[in-house]
C-alpha cells in the first residue's frame, strides 16, 4: 500500500481549494473501488501526498429533475442510480447499466464519477451516459466549466481532466416520451465480472415507424467511448428492416477495426458485436 496522508474536507469548497493547492500531489477518492486497487499496487505517482476523500460530501450526492434535465451529483453510487425512480423513468438505460456493475458491495460504494474518470474501456455506465449525450460539470477552485462526456476521454484509462479539477455533476436531457432504451452486458461470469462487451442504445420511432432518434454506444470496442454515428446515420429517418439493422451492426464492426486495428480479440468481437447490435435493437425497435 502506497503512503499518503488522508484528508476529509467538510465541504466542496474546501475540497476544491485543497486540490488547487496540491495539484499533482493530491488524488480524490470517492467509492475507492478503483483507486484503492491502484494504491495497493502502488501505481500512483511517487509525488502523491494526500488523498482527499469527497465520499461524504452532500453537495455531490443528489439526483434531481430540473426542467428537461436530470442532474446527478458526481458522488452518487451505482446502487442508488440503479434504483432511482427518476432514472428508471427518464433514463432507464443508465439504471440498467448501473445495476450490473460489479456486485452489491461494489455498487454500494462505487460512484458514477469514479466510473467515468477511471475510463476503463469495459466501464458499464459510460456507454449508457454516452447515449444520453451527458454533460459534465467540472469545477476548479471557484471556476466551473462544462464539457460533453464524450470529450473527456483521451484513450483507454485516460481522461483530459487537470489534476486540480473535480467533476461535480453529470447531467443529460430526459429521454423524450416514446423513446426506448436498452443495455446489455456480455461477461464470462454472471456476476462480478468486467464486461467483455456492453451496448447501450436509445431509439425512437414515429407513427410511421421511421426512426427519428437513434443513439448507439458500445464498450470495449474502440479506444475512446463514443456514439457510432455512421451506423446511426444509416438508421436515422428510415423504416427499420432486419437488413438495415444488420448493416448497422456491420458498420459498427468496421469502425471497431478502423479505430482499434485488427487485434487478437477481433476475430471474436467482430461477429459478436454484429449479433448483439441486432439483438439489442430488435429488443426496442419495431421492425418491418
Amino acid at each position: 500500500m502506497q503512503n499518503f496522508n488522508f484528508i476529509r474536507p467538510d465541504n466542496l469548497e474546501e475540497a476544491c481549494d485543497l486540490l488547487v493547492r496540491y495539484k499533482d500531489r493530491a488524488k480524490l477518492i470517492t467509492g475507492g473501488t478503483d483507486l484503492i486497487i491502484a494504491l495497493r499496487e502502488e501505481k500512483l505517482p511517487n509525488c502523491l501526498e494526500i488523498i482527499i476523500d469527497i465520499s461524504n460530501l452532500k453537495e455531490l450526492n443528489y439526483i434531481k429533475e430540473e426542467g428537461k434535465y436530470i442532474r446527478i451529483g458526481s458522488g452518487v453510487r451505482h446502487a442508488e442510480i440503479a434504483n432511482n425512480k427518476l432514472i428508471k423513468k427518464y433514463a432507464p438505460v443508465l439504471s440498467m447499466a448501473s445495476s450490473v456493475v460489479g456486485s452489491p458491495q461494489i455498487r454500494n460504494k462505487g460512484t458514477i464519477a469514479g466510473n467515468i474518470i477511471t475510463a476503463s474501456p469495459a466501464a458499464d455506465t459510460i456507454p449508457a451516459l454516452i447515449v444520453l449525450d451527458s454533460i459534465l460539470v467540472i469545477r476548479k477552485g471557484k471556476e466551473k466549466r462544462k464539457m460533453f462526456l464524450k470529450d473527456v476521454f483521451e484513450g483507454p484509462n485516460k481522461v483530459n481532466l487537470k489534476s486540480d479539477e473535480i467533476v461535480c455533476e453529470i447531467y443529460f436531457e430526459k429521454l423524450p416520451l416514446g423513446a426506448k432504451s436498452n443495455f446489455i452486458k456480455l461477461a464470462r461470469r454472471n456476476a462480478v465480472d468486467k464486461s467483455r462487451m456492453n451496448i447501450a442504445v436509445v431509439a425512437q420511432q414515429n407513427k410511421n415507424k421511421e426512426i427519428t432518434n437513434i443513439r448507439i454506444s458500445v464498450g470495449s470496442l474502440t479506444p475512446i467511448p463514443e456514439r457510432f454515428k455512421d451506423a446511426e446515420d444509416l438508421l436515422l429517418g428510415k423504416l427499420p428492416t432486419q437488413d438495415l439493422i444488420q448493416k448497422a451492426g456491420k458498420k459498427i464492426a468496421e469502425e471497431m477495426i478502423n479505430k482499434s486495428g485488427y487485434r487478437w480479440s477481433t476475430e471474436y468481437k467482430e461477429p459478436v458485436v454484429k449479433s448483439l447490435i441486432d439483438r439489442v435493437l430488435n429488443g426496442i425497435v419495431e421492425v418491418e
Binding site: F4, I36, L48, P104, I106
Partner: protein, 164 residues
Amino acid sequence: MAANRKIELNIKVNNKDYKLFIASNKRLLDVLRDDLGLTGVKEGCAIGECGACTVIMNGKNVCSCMILAGQAEGAEIITIEGLEGPKGELHPLQEAFMETGAVQCGFCTPGMILSSLVLLKNNPSPTEEEIKEAISGNFCRCTGYKQIIEAVQLAAERMRGGGM
C-alpha cells in the same frame, strides 16, 4: 514519497464507540482485524472481488478492503461479531446457516451472513433470484451456494414469523 501521518478515527463498531489513531493508509479491513481484533472479518483477495471482508457500514454491505479507514469516520459498522444477542443468542441467520449445512470451511460465512442480513432487512420475503443477487458478491468455493440459499430462506421464514 510522503510519510503516513496518523489520523484520528471515530467509529462505532458493533454498537461500541472507538477513538483510534491509525496510519492514514490503512484500510477499514486492517483496522477491524488488527486494531480491534475482529478477525471474523476475512481477507481473501484485497481487490473487492470475493466479499470475504464484507461488513455492514451505515446499513449497507461493503467490502472493507475497498475502504480507506479514514472514510469510515463517524460510521456505524457491524461485523459478524456483532450479530449475537446480549446473552449470546445467535441470530436466526446464524442458526439457519448451521442447520441447512450452509457452512463448510466457513471462510466465506461471515461475509455471506452479513450480505444476507442486509437483504432481509430490506426485503423480508426474498425470492431465490433475489437471494442469489444479494450474495453475488460473496464467493464461496465449498458449498455451491445451494445450502446457503436454503439457509437464507429458512431464516427469512423464521424472521417473518416473528419468532426468535
